[in-house]
Symmetry: C2
Subunit: 255 residues, 2 copies
DNA sequence: CCTTGTGAATCGTTTCACAGCA
DNA sequence: TGCTGTGAAACGATTCACAAGG
């Protein structure tokens, strides 16, 4: 979910629900695969199962875009690909910059999924002068000093932050000051941004922690009961038991 | 959200809402930072703002865990760190394997956030024989042939898939057959898994597409109207207009 | 007859607002 | 007095079930 308090609460016109927007890329991927196999039409049932959702949800989602199906038949694949692409804004070109070219930044730079949608990596930026000039994914790494100029020259409105947590807020501030209004943040920090700027967060360690929660539950069920003594009296907890957490996350990469 | 149809619908005992579970790691991070600065207590207001949520939500979330605060005062930082860690299952050790050691897999292997929570990278696995034996993040890359043995020897229940999309389902099947019951999937595919296996998905390109949607909206608003002719008659769309999408995503890395 | 599109019912989450307690 | 804990209200998303329409 976007972190910054954004998203017009009023405006009330073509309101596509957030949950629906988040699924459109999923449908698009499934449709693209069908399109490659030259499948002309799909039913909501088929497409839903390819996208990993149920058909009622899919139909409701599509109903927000308009009436693009044919009753008794299904949806025209090419037509839907086009409609969803347009709705998502992928029929235009989006230059993005990636800041922080460690392993993660490099992985992102090499990621084919960007180019094949409307995204074009306009520049790779890193704070380490020693990295400057090195080629990654066919692009030279440029130094942070050039950040503002790069944003302006390329009309970049989307920035990807793949720096260590400590650097993220400063990078974010500079991106925003230079005109970026959407940020994809891989650093494990809460970024604060002015109104009108969207932040989305991808946090590897959080995803694992959620898995661990469910995993623990499963283990508990195998034994047929609650896993841990869930409610021991507060006084019983020895403060030194967990000896004061072990230094938080040097984070993703030396950037 | 988890993709596989999982999550016990019945059981009905200590039901912590999914939305709450997903925020616990966030609180934990904020609390850990406070703990390092030796802050003894926080109010819901302070902690909420550090975690980027509002205080009512945070209090409701904590109320599912129990009554861990003190009215008029706030929450004991160390105590809460411990309670949340335990609830998330982070007081135990979780061995994980990472399959697919391209740039992304390497970034994950180097990611400090794993070790500092209860996660231990038990092995790195790649299908490329030429990679086998190379050291990444202090661990040797091992060949896919060894996958089953590694899982068993290390009692691994959590697997991370960072392979190209084409390989993901097969890797997933092998992981599950070998006993893995939680999967974090970075490949842009819908994985199908048997009941009882949890899948969480991180998709870089989807996040960007969601940003593009909102970005487009902003651009449209600047001009004070709808961006695109949102509803043109179906017949008007020339099928050859978007010439059949350009090959989906070679994906993350040559793995 | 088949599949879409959608009101209405349901479910889960968030927010409000205040009683309860240190 | 101040902040937690929580019922109750509001909101949003999902699912149901069926009428509409090719």
């Amino acid at each position: 979910m976007a972190t910054g308090r954004t998203h017009r609460p009023a405006t009330r016109s073509r309101g596509i629900p957030e949950a629906t927007v988040a699924r459109l890329p999923l449908y698009l991927r499934a449709l693209t695969a069908l399109s490659e196999r030259s499948v002309p039409t799909v039913s909501s049932e088929e497409l839903a199962s390819a996208a990993g959702v149920n058909s009622a949800k899919l139909r409701k989602d599509f109903s927000y875009l308009g009436s693009y199906g044919t009753r008794g038949v299904g949806y025209d694949v090419e037509y839907l690909v086009y409609q969803i692409s347009r709705e998502l804004g992928l029929t235009q070109d989006w230059p993005v910059v990636i800041v922080g070219i460690g392993n993660l930044g490099a992985a992102l730079a090499n990621y084919g999924g960007f180019a094949s949608r409307g995204f074009r990596v306009a520049a790779l930026i890193d704070a380490d002068p020693a990295q400057a000039g090195k080629m990654v994914a066919g692009l030279p790494i440029r130094h942070t000093d050039e950040l503002e100029a790069i944003i302006e020259d390329n009309q970049v409105s989307i920035g990807v932050i793949a720096t260590p947590a400590g650097a993220a807020q400063e990078v974010c501030d500079r991106l925003v000051a230079a005109g970026v209004t959407s940020i994809l943040n891989f650093a494990p920090t809460v970024l604060s941004v002015p109104d009108g700027v969207d932040v989305r967060k991808v946090d590897l360690s959080i995803e694992l922690q959620i898995l661990a929660f469910h995993e623990q539950r499963k283990a508990g069920e195998d034994l047929g009961g609650a896993v841990a003594p869930t409610s021991l009296p507060k006084a019983a907890v020895d403060r030194s038991e967990r000896p004061g957490p072990d230094g938080d996350v040097p984070v993703v990469m030396p950037a």
